[in-house]
């Protein structure tokens, strides 16, 4: 056995790790490159994901999980990871919590070429070898595993022989040993041209380093014979002969080196997102009218990367110009991970953001965007979900509807609009159980909400988003019908409460060991920022929940519209952007 441990000189560059036959729909393929196990899967949109083969939760192989076409679901506790971004979208054991953005599977760049899936685990340097011979017609041969080092395999490939495809199609008595071959050694591949009886074939054999003692030979024939099977059989047989020859030449049977990935610690990146900091430059790839006064914007990262994972209910901040930062819900369904889709309504009462976006931003424009934040996470542990939208409030709910639909869960949609031409996402909604409530008066709306709610049951939950009066009415009715607070989830786009800022009080920051004064006219968030206490914020209106802090002592004076009644009464969480202390002091877990 060779003494060379290739781990000391890990192969760099791009290698094939699977064939196009391995990454068929709804299957997860298990591969390995240089000791690192990989889960390779193709989503329904055609994108091929190459990930480290382990769930971030308990280390179970993702390759035994389920490819639902949009997401890979771990077999053990059903953590869901999104196509492209590899971000975790849902943790069933914590249905009320949005998974942290740092929970992202280790993914590697993937390229499809010559019918093979290529990746590199040593950064993105270099590229897939450009083999001119294979630019024309080609036939992917059967890949064969070999218990020998890649170096040994490459050496032996120099003596590999086969017959030209043209002879095999017509049937021949010739043997591969009769062929004249010329071998040309590339970096990690060998090109072989075989001549016999006036015919010629060229094949390229790529050598995939599986681990220091095992390799995979992945051959591609530079020809497209009409009758493939005899050609494939011949190559499988001849390559099988070569494999046996190589394995006999290797003195000891190859020891199977344990997969290496498990030794490597997962290093979670430090949270690079401060408060209201835009970290993504995104280009408007498409702008389209989807209803009266509603435009759909599709945003793609300017650098061509995959944007951070968004879960149903999440929103992004759009930095439209200095001082004008606005939140928009992401409407994407599962698997739509290459872009963010937002819908913007031109609102005559707009504070400026929506009108600016709707009127001034066009395809090709670049917008600075913050990564998604989810203050409205969708619980998927309740059998039936009712989604109630008022006007443009449909946006987070359409994302939820698609996620519920993809998971095969029961849900219904109620969509309140002033006029039929204001209905967005009509085509998508047509495939769901959806009722439109058009042109109702406030009193009729309240009565309809009462009907929709009905008697609470433990098997049903409600998510609602819309104008504040409608949500206020919904909450009041739910309370009157004895719905538990944690079964009715609402998201306000705006906070129409009068916000008092005239009190002054002190905040004790337990973790930072700081005592800060919040003077009249300032918010807790202002004071925290001024003292460089890291805290995330988004809308700063008490609507999105981004800036929530845990209260360890003192009574908050809530002025937000984000917390539900139970949270409000519990007094253990406060939104630092608008709320204050009802007494002289609050102790925060910051």
């Amino acid at each position: 056995m060779s003494d060379v441990d290739l781990r000391d000189e890990a192969p760099t560059g791009w290698f094939p790790v699977a064939t196009e036959h391995d990454v068929i729909a709804r299957v997860v393929f298990r591969g390995q490159l240089d000791g690192r196990e990989l889960a390779v899967w193709r989503a329904d949109d055609g994108f091929v994901n190459v990930w480290e083969n382990r769930c971030l939760h308990r280390g179970v192989r993702l390759s035994i999980g389920c490819n639902d076409g949009n997401e890979l679901v771990c077999r053990y506790h059903a953590w869901r990871y999104a196509n492209r971004s590899a971000g975790c979208t849902y943790i069933p054991a914590h249905p009320a919590d949005a998974p942290s953005r740092t929970i992202t599977a280790q993914s590697y760049a993937a390229v499809e070429r010559y019918g093979l899936i290529w990746t590199t685990t040593n950064g993105d340097e270099g590229s897939v070898p450009d083999i001119g011979t294979l630019s024309g017609p080609r036939l992917l041969l059967r890949s064969l595993p070999v218990n020998a080092s890649p170096q040994t395999v490459r050496e032996h490939l120099g003596s590999h022989r086969f017959l030209p495809a043209a002879l095999l199609e017509t049937g021949t008595a010739a043997s591969a040993d009769d062929a004249e071959v010329v071998a040309d050694h590339g970096e990690s591949w060998v090109t072989i041209t075989a001549d016999a009886a006036g015919e010629s074939s060229t094949a390229v054999f790529f050598v995939q380093p599986v681990d220091p003692h095992r390799s995979m030979i992945r051959g591609v024939l530079a020809d497209a014979p009409a009758d493939e099977i005899p050609v494939l059989r011949h190559h499988a047989y001849e390559l099988g002969r070569l494999v046996r020859k190589i394995e006999e030449a290797v003195e000891e049977p190859a020891e199977r080196t344990p997969p290496r990935g498990f030794e490597t610690p997962v290093i979670l990146p430090a949270n690079p997102w401060g408060h209201q900091r835009a970290t993504l430059s995104m280009v408007v790839d498409r702008k389209a009218a989807v209803a009266a006064d509603i435009a759909l914007f599709e945003l793609v990262p300017e650098d061509g990367s995959t944007p951070p994972t968004a879960q149903p209910g999440a929103h992004i901040d759009l930095h439209l110009r200095p001082g004008l930062v606005r939140q928009y819900s992401i409407t994407n369904g599962p698997g739509e991970t290459d872009r963010y889709r937002i819908a913007v309504k031109r609102d005559p009462h707009s504070r400026g953001g929506s009108a600016f976006l709707y009127e001034a931003i066009e395809e090709g424009d670049t917008i600075e965007v913050s990564p998604p934040h989810n203050g409205f996470p969708l619980r998927r542990n309740i059998p039936r979900t009712t989604l109630i939208a008022g006007g443009i409030g449909i946006t987070p709910l359409i994302a939820m509807a698609q996620a519920l639909d993809a998971s095969g869960m029961t849900f219904d949609v109620h969509y309140f609009v002033a006029a039929p031409q204001q209905i967005a996402f009509r085509r998508r909604l047509a495939t769901y159980t959806c009722e439109f409530h058009v042109g109702l008066t406030p009193a009729q709306t309240t009565d309809t909400l009462l009907d929709i709610l009905g008697t609470p049951t433990p098997t049903r939950q409600v998510y609602a988003c819309g104008p504040p009066p409608m949500l206020d009415a919904l909450k009041a009715k739910a309370r009157a019908l004895n719905w538990p607070a944690d079964a009715v989830h609402v998201e306000y786009f705006e906070n129409t409460n009068e916000i008092a800022t005239d009190s002054s009080f002190v905040i004790d920051l337990a973790r930072s060991a700081l005592t800060l004064e919040v003077p009249s006219g300032s918010t807790m968030l202002d004071v925290l920022r001024a003292n460089d206490v890291p805290i995330v914020s988004s809308c700063e209106l008490g609507a999105c929940g981004s800036c929530a802090a845990t209260v360890l002592g003192g009574d908050p004076l809530h002025q937000d519209v984000y917390l539900n009644d139970a949270e409000r009464q519990g007094g253990q969480v406060v939104l630092t952007c608008v709320s204050r202390a009802s007494g002289e002091r609050l102790v925060l877990d910051l």
């Binding site: 639902d68 679901v73 077999r75 059967r142 595993p145 995979m216 494939l232 499988a236 199977r256």
Partner: protein
Amino acid sequence: MKLYDFVLSANCYKVRLLLGFLGVSYDSEVIDFHPGKEHKGEAFRLINPLGHIPVLDDDGYVLRDAHAILVYLASRYDPGRSWYPVTDPERLGSVAQWMAFADATASTASATRLHVNLGYDFDVDERRAAAHELFRVADEHLWFGERTGNDWFVPGPLPTLADVAVFPDVVLAEEGGIDLMDYPSLVRWTGRVKQIPGFSVMPGVFPFERA
């Protein structure tokens, strides 16, 4: 119908699988194979002098040997004659060929599992190497099946006893330390078997799951 059965036995699992595919109900008579070695006891020798499970008792007709039981059950309870295609000599021959192949996996792959799980004394490295040789052949066979639109061990639209006979030793092979990574076609085929209506699981075998 009574099956002398042990839940962890790959050979008993074959029979349970086919009973499920055929929709035939039966009672399990649990034999304490491990740790009691009840199949080697005097009482069980009366039922099978060879001291092996499974044994089938169909209303007084007593039959031993998993593959014999498969042939009997398919011949008696599959009116469509698809599992054991007696009307097609070539396919029938192929079924017998792959059932014999499954005898070979039983003495190799299955033996490694008995070694790892139950402490049986085998030269486990030798058996693993032999199992890998078999799996290479099976994987190539199925890879060509995929190229020609054949889902099953014996070409044809429906699975046969060949698939039932080979399935347990393949799907349980990793318990014996036989890594299936090199056999992607074999792994994909296990996924297809799991989708046959009536499929049943055993400890160590996941059902097919659509999210």
